[in-house]
Symmetry: C2
Subunit: 548 residues, 2 copies
């Protein structure tokens, strides 16, 4: 009742206060900030409720579309946020949260983020960013160099050139991929004689000018879903994103690529880009980049590498060979908010040729004037924050050898986990890790044997039942809240390409240690027992097969 | 020399520390954080160097593309950031920084941002965001209601529906506008009989199916530059963005729109959208939205409103009438990082019809499965941060009446400034403010008289010289660092549509008071004197005209 009497007065004087100095004893927010600064992990552990509250219940707290007519005290609202939002958010930094690509972050990024937000620079133009513009250009240069390894003279010439761009900083891998394909499309359908280029006259007239029957972008079946979105947005249509077959370990099959490219050419369909994946989202595998590069060179088409996940592997002198050929790519996507351990919202696309982005360059009267160094001339987005500062700081504080250690131990942890899974009689490794991702499933020991001798129909029946079981285990484990793995559907060669639901694990959090991995398996084994009907059906199918 | 001996050891143990608790006495960062918390404005005032350092000089600090091989201490690097980056960033929060759309922010957003970043949720899916997903849906609902004013039942039905979406939260207005036009394009070229829709088969086949000669998007000459980018990305081509004439105060001319739509129809060119601007970027004017809505209804085409800047005016019961007709729009862009005073990176697009986004919906195997409430099914971006939390907090803490006060005083401040400019014998108001933006220029008193009696050639000559003077004043004022206005080029009717360079002012910072506005004018008048050659040339031209 007391809180109902406490109301804030809506006056301009009061409003001015919130734009200047903190209002009096704002205990809750000050306390939280202090807690956060002292021990972030403890704060998260204590405030995020582990038990799953049904989404329907959570939604009740977020059901009013009316904007409040009455202001709230900062401390009251902060408490409300703690109770309704923070408590029911996801502990993405937990060492047992190994289902997605979010991880614990270096603590120093928290206070630095606050500085970044307090400065509130807008990177679209120099006039609202000043030193942040050369800083972002340097960060793009650093990533460019990591990939393409050009010499000092190259970066001296191009990194800060107003008329050139080594890439674009953006909100994430999806925008990075769209940007790369936008550039590829515009370069493939560029101005020619009296034809002014696709950027001016559009796709319809460009197709009429060039006389192609269609366009195509090729990527393996394991390409990221955002590429379909990119094909849609860019006016190609999802159908023009052609799926290339993969080998036994989810890597693009070069032979199939070569055949598809030849066949498209014969149909007068212009391949505007081939995309190699360096770290597939679901399995972490890496396409044969050098071979793809050769085919692209042969066909004169843009070679893009989606290294949103795997790009950071280049930091490791031990493992960078896994991405051999990436230096031949015309463009590369890399997400700093993945294995560079930057908070959400830091993607980049880098272009080998500093002139490549000219085909998407644009200007305006009040900013982005020709000759200006405004970054906005070459970005799909407009106003953007100074996130590049966090990448810059992490590069300096962690350094390349520090990142190498992080990458190496993630990869080695995945190898360890793969070995651990293989050693279990009742688990099955589905995809072998190249980076720190792997997939597997729970298969009762007898069922494993049955699978080996089953005929096609029996295999299908067993697999369907196992899919149900995998879904049940994954869902229950998530709801229990002790640990989290994700799930996806694959079509593994060794399972006759059957639709197979698998657990998916990402081992990028440096705090995840081997005992946690062991306990994840034990927990899954225990959960399997909680589905007696499913287990019984599986056992009966298994017995039928083995008793024959 | 001492610092050279202080090196950090690259060991996994040391790395683990940075992911858990702050390393020992990390004095610099701790001190800065404390300073920031105590008095943000003072911190910015003290650390941002007012004097302009030439960009070339700043670039020297950001010229090395090599990723460091040696880690840095957090405190050393923080000091480095203070000296090289913060010192030479832009004081966007300063009350005298009135040239762009960045402003001081409510202080409580700084610590809340830190919580948001520490939680590092990924809003693309429930599994990495949980309560943040319903929160973001509520924020979209709040903005939807602010625009469309539907009843409670409407929001109960649609706000949390897995199969529907009231809009998309995104990094900014550009992505919001692209999203709106993407939806408009896909709905205009949707599946029909055996034709599977533009999203599947692409623009070329869609045009063949529908038999149109071309597509068009119409917007006034004052439309934001990002719309050209959108037309390019979406495969329409910049030429298909048709510029509609404006009236004497930069508002779309309905008569010209009607003529252009009729003419396009006669040419079998399909208008996929008309865009009304609610707050033009350069002058802050608002198109006649109701009239545009009627024309769109007549022609059966998508009506989009770019209210990135002006949308927040809906918070003001006193001024929301300025945007009458916005409720008839099929989609509306609004930027929370503009007049909702949220840090950079918070845009939104809202759709009247909860089914509208179906044409851009997409799914994947590991997330965004059908029936899930994953926000990523309807966003152009993929991984995204929990920025919506800051909008939610500001809505609650400031409340609608608080926002109304902020909006009202900004508009009234602009009216006051316009009156002040008009009262000066040597300044000329170029665009009358409707919201809190206006444009003007410095014109010596005698030259003003000369302009009125000049013939066309003389007017042109005077105007060219005035343009040089305006550029000189704007540049010098920026470099002096006491205050900042931006500049743009307009073609005002009362100046015979001559290319006219003007000062552009945005008065959204609540801390900007009238004395600052007076001193901006005095400073400009003083700077004009620092260009003796220009002044002499202008005077001579003026005398020639007046002496006749």
């Amino acid at each position: 009742m007391e809180s109902e009497q406490k109301t804030v007065d809506v006056s301009f004087e009061n409003l001015l206060k919130i734009f200047t100095v903190p209002e009096g004893p704002d205990s809750t927010l000050t306390k939280i900030e202090a807690e956060l600064s002292q021990n972030l992990n403890q704060f998260l552990r204590e405030h995020i409720v582990a038990d799953e509250k049904p989404l329907k219940e959570i939604e009740k707290d977020f059901s009013d579309a009316a904007i409040p007519e009455q202001p709230s005290f900062v401390s009251d609202h902060t408490q409300h946020l703690l109770d309704t939002l923070v408590a029911h958010s996801v502990h993405t930094a937990a060492p047992s949260f190994i289902g997605h690509m979010t991880s614990a972050l270096p603590y120093f990024l928290m206070p630095l983020s606050k500085i970044m937000i307090a400065l509130n620079q807008n990177l679209v133009k120099i006039e609202t960013s000043k030193a942040f513009t050369p800083l972002e250009r340097q960060v793009l240069g650093m990533l460019h160099r990591l990939i393409y390894q050009r010499n000092d003279a190259f970066y001296q010439q191009w990194m800060h050139s107003a008329e050139h761009s080594l890439g674009a900083f953006c909100s994430g891998g999806t925008i990075a991929n769209i940007t790369a394909l936008w550039v590829a499309r515009n370069n493939a359908l560029k101005a020619q004689g009296s034809f002014q280029g696709v950027e001016k006259v559009g796709l319809y007239k460009a197709m009429q000018h060039y006389g192609y029957q269609g366009l195509a972008v090729l990527v393996s079946k394991r390409g990221h879903y955002s590429l379909k979105k990119a094909a849609d947005v860019l006016g190609l249509g999802q159908d023009e994103l052609v799926a290339v077959e993969t080998d036994h370990n989810n890597r693009l099959c070069v032979k199939d690529l070569a055949q598809k490219m030849a066949s498209l050419k014969a149909q007068n369909i212009k391949v505007i880009a081939v995309i190699g994946v360096a770290g597939t989202t679901e399995t972490g595998n890496i396409d044969p980049l050098s071979d793809i590069a050769s085919l692209c060179a042969e066909h004169g088409c843009h070679f893009h590498v989606d290294a949103a996940w795997g790009g950071a592997t280049l930091m490791s002198n031990r493992y960078r060979y896994l991405l051999d050929g990436i230096e031949k790519a015309d463009s590369v996507t890399i997400d700093a908010h993945k294995q560079l351990y930057i908070p959400m919202g830091a993607g980049m696309v880098l272009f080998k040729d500093p002139d490549a982005m000219r085909s998407v360059e644009h200007h305006a009267q009040y900013i982005l004037r020709k000759g200006s160094k405004d970054l906005g001339s070459h970005t799909l987005e407009g106003s953007r924050s100074g996130m590049a500062m966090l990448v810059y700081a992490a590069m300096n504080i962690i350094s390349r050898p520090g990142y190498e250690l992080l990458i190496n131990q993630s990869i080695e942890k995945a190898k360890h986990f793969a070995a651990l899974i293989k050693a279990q009689p009742d688990f099955e490794l589905i995809s072998q890790p190249e980076l720190c991702l792997l997939t597997y499933r729970y298969v009762p020991t007898a069922t494993k044997q049955a699978l080996e001798v089953a005929n096609q129909a029996q295999q299908q029946a067993l697999n369907d039942k196992l899919n149900e079981l995998t879904q049940f285990i994954q869902k229950t484990q998530r709801e229990t809240g002790r640990s989290f793995v994700s799930r996806t559907q694959l079509n593994p060669q060794h399972l006759n390409q059957l639709d197979t639901i698998v657990f998916r694990v990402v081992l990028a959090n440096p705090l995840t240690h081997n005992e946690i991995l062991e306990s994840v398996l034990s927990e899954q084994r225990e959960i399997a027992k909680q589905a007696p009907n499913l287990s019984k059906q599986l056992q009966s199918l298994t017995n039928d097969i083995l008793e024959k």
